[in-house]
Symmetry: C2
Subunit: 415 residues, 2 copies
């Protein structure tokens, strides 16, 4: 079964916004086992939109259209799609009631006249209630072809898709598609592929696909089966084998768990606290930890010690260490971590010091050189990295490795 | 003159990556005054790619293709485009030399045989040297139609476009398109539009367009003229009028200057230093400042005081203040800022404390409530915000407002 996405909106053609909806829908459709061969972006223009819909319906079984369902005259998606597919438009009293309800608690005294346009739907269409806006989602069925119309704002589109479109699409497929993610940190994509090559080549059900993220690799194992139980049975040994081959580099097998979530989970499990002492990452390691709701249980404080004076004052890095080895050195990293743990009474402290550039690099210490250290009780691990890329890229990679260093340190000591 | 973008890559159809290239190219083409009516995404499949190229060339004057120029057998863009447009492929000795040069300093002992495929080009094509990879950009011209082929990785595509494709496209247009950005913080998009409505409606050359970013609004003023001087003359009075109407809310009129860059520039100008004291933003304000190369002149240290104890220990917030008013209060924010400036000997200190959620909100102090304070000498400004959105959205908005608070504080005292 094939699916195509048509994104409608002049703002996409002007480059005012990034088309994250297309990425979301593509990923979801892949998860559902639907094949996508084309995506199109077209403006709020009747003729060109009609062309795109006709072409799409000619190629794919299912067409997902996003955007152009607003209340203004520019919004043409519903009208155009209904016309191309031959549906008359009728008023939907249920949607009318919902629009009235939506405006009840709003700042508007009166409902803008335009909005009643959104209560008109193609006759016989499935109407999907939208809890976050006034434009309902719509599903039009004609013979073997289907068009699914969704509003453009992601905070309306995503809940509509997850709550109503996904179950609808699942029912269309004879087989169930189940997938599991294996998230890896500290090993490059080509290395992961090397270690899994025979598995990737051999497997057809489940399939194995790798995705490179900044400093991470995600491996998705996807099975197609008549029931969830059968699919799980197909997936389980493969995930087990991947975990065996990659060892502690695997930080999670949960779709929604980020690296910082895994770190916080682990710290909570062992009732440990962590502090941060950052130079070139300038607070971003702490910022990632605080991303996690409830991180206050394991993270209480951190230092951004960008200057040498601050490193001395707050982390008790000795003047002679900085003088002898420099601020970017394994010795300074080590003292930052030890000093940070002491100053904050935390069980662990992770420290990062490096050259993010663009200036300040030398032959001996080039831009991208980053030292990080993690102190846990009496033990201190110091690591040296030479990252590539611009200032931001170097800092992003440092943040990921620093979080992972905390994770590995806890694992080594406790498991 | 019309342009279309064809993004080639199965990873886009699988939803593995977001199509940021399409957004970049769309924005750039709009800036160049080229009209874009369609964008297409297609996989690494010869037949479907041929169809997309044929359709694109039938509709637009210029086709920009991205991706599929790599060294593997899956990479088909060059071969397919040459075939559709009727160009034979020939070896390009200049590109061959460049590939040899590229691998000289790499970890590879031998150049992978695959890579020589990238030295083959359509006969007569303009070859655009790629300093960041082995695939050159290519421009194919046939009658009035043009195809521009660019590699997919953004760090290769962007420099190629800016350095070589942009000047090429500029030459094709009889009129020059010049634009200037006015960047605004602290005023919502609808308010900005209200204040500029008559200008936006009245102007046709230059045109005025607004773009909403997190916590910011960017206004682009674009003129079309035969020379840069004439364009500048058209733009200047409009930018002046916008600045007059929005006052100090305008933080920059430079395209490439971010809010943190404007803050660092201002601090450098007055030789001031700033420190940070963060609770709910957890280091992200410091992280944004450190984004700016050379920020070490104005930023030396910051605290992430997530726990109350840390607020007391490092920022000297009094126990009774936290007890009486709570950690999220204007009193605590004030003491954090004052204490942070004192502890670090900085001229300014900005402090943020708030409820980012999802839990912990009450009727009196709901999720999204954020206090921030900025201390400068004897003066302390405290501001209260009620942000909407999820945890990350609340924190992102807080970071922008905190940076802007520093900016306004300096401006008020010095200008």
């Amino acid at each position: 079964m094939t699916v195509e996405v048509i994104s409608v909106g002049t703002e996409l053609l002007m480059g005012s916004i990034v088309n994250t909806n297309a990425q979301f829908l593509a990923e979801q459709c892949a998860l559902l086992g639907l094949s996508m061969y084309n995506q199109t972006v077209v403006g709020d223009n009747k003729e060109r939109l009609s062309d795109a819909i006709r072409t799409g319906l000619g190629r794919a079984d299912i067409l997902i259209l996003t955007g152009g369902l607003g209340p203004t005259e520019d919004d043409l998606t519903k009208e155009t799609c209904a016309e191309v597919m031959g549906f008359p438009l009728v008023e939907d009293s249920h949607t009318k009631d919902r629009i009235r309800e939506f405006f009840k608690n709003s700042i508007y005294k009166e409902i803008p006249a335009n909005n009643w346009k959104q209560a008109v739907v193609p006759e016989g269409a499935l109407v999907l209630d939208n809890d976050n806006g006034t434009a309902p989602g719509l599903i039009l069925e004609k013979g073997e072809k289907r068009a699914i119309l969704l509003p453009g704002p992601p905070n309306e589109l995503i809940p509509l898709f997850e709550g109503q479109v996904k179950p609808y699409l699942q029912k269309l497929r004879p087989e169930l598609i189940v997938s599991q993610m294996v998230k890896i940190c500290g090993v490059g994509e080509s290395q992961v592929e090397d270690r899994l090559l025979d598995l990737i080549d051999r497997q057809t059900n489940p399939t194995i696909a790798t995705y490179a993220k900044t400093g991470e690799v995600h491996v998705r194992v996807t099975a197609s089966a008549p029931t969830k139980e059968v699919a799980d049975k197909l997936i389980r040994p493969v995930v087990k084998e991947i975990k065996k081959r990659l060892g502690t580099a695997v930080y999670s097998t949960r779709e929604e768990e980020t690296l910082e979530m895994a770190v916080v989970r682990l710290l909570k499990k062992y009732e440990l606290t962590v502090a941060t002492a950052e130079s070139c990452t300038g607070g971003l390691v702490a910022g990632r930890i605080v991303n996690v709701p409830g991180s206050s249980e394991v993270f209480r404080e951190g230092f951004v010690t960008y200057s040498n004076k601050a490193k001395r004052r707050h982390l008790d890095v000795s003047k002679s260490t900085i003088k002898k080895y420099g601020a970017v050195s394994k010795e300074t990293a080590r003292e930052m971590a030890v000093g940070g743990a002491f100053a904050t009474d935390s069980d662990l402290c992770v420290a990062v010091t490096g050259l993010a550039g663009p200036d300040g690099g030398t032959e001996e210490k080039p831009v991208g050189l980053v030292y990080m250290a993690c102190c846990m009780g009496d033990k201190v691990t110091v690591e040296k990295y030479q990252f590539k890329g611009n200032r931001n890229k170097i800092r992003e990679q440092s943040v990921v490795r620093a979080l992972d260093l905390v994770r590995r340190m806890v694992l080594e000591s406790r498991e």
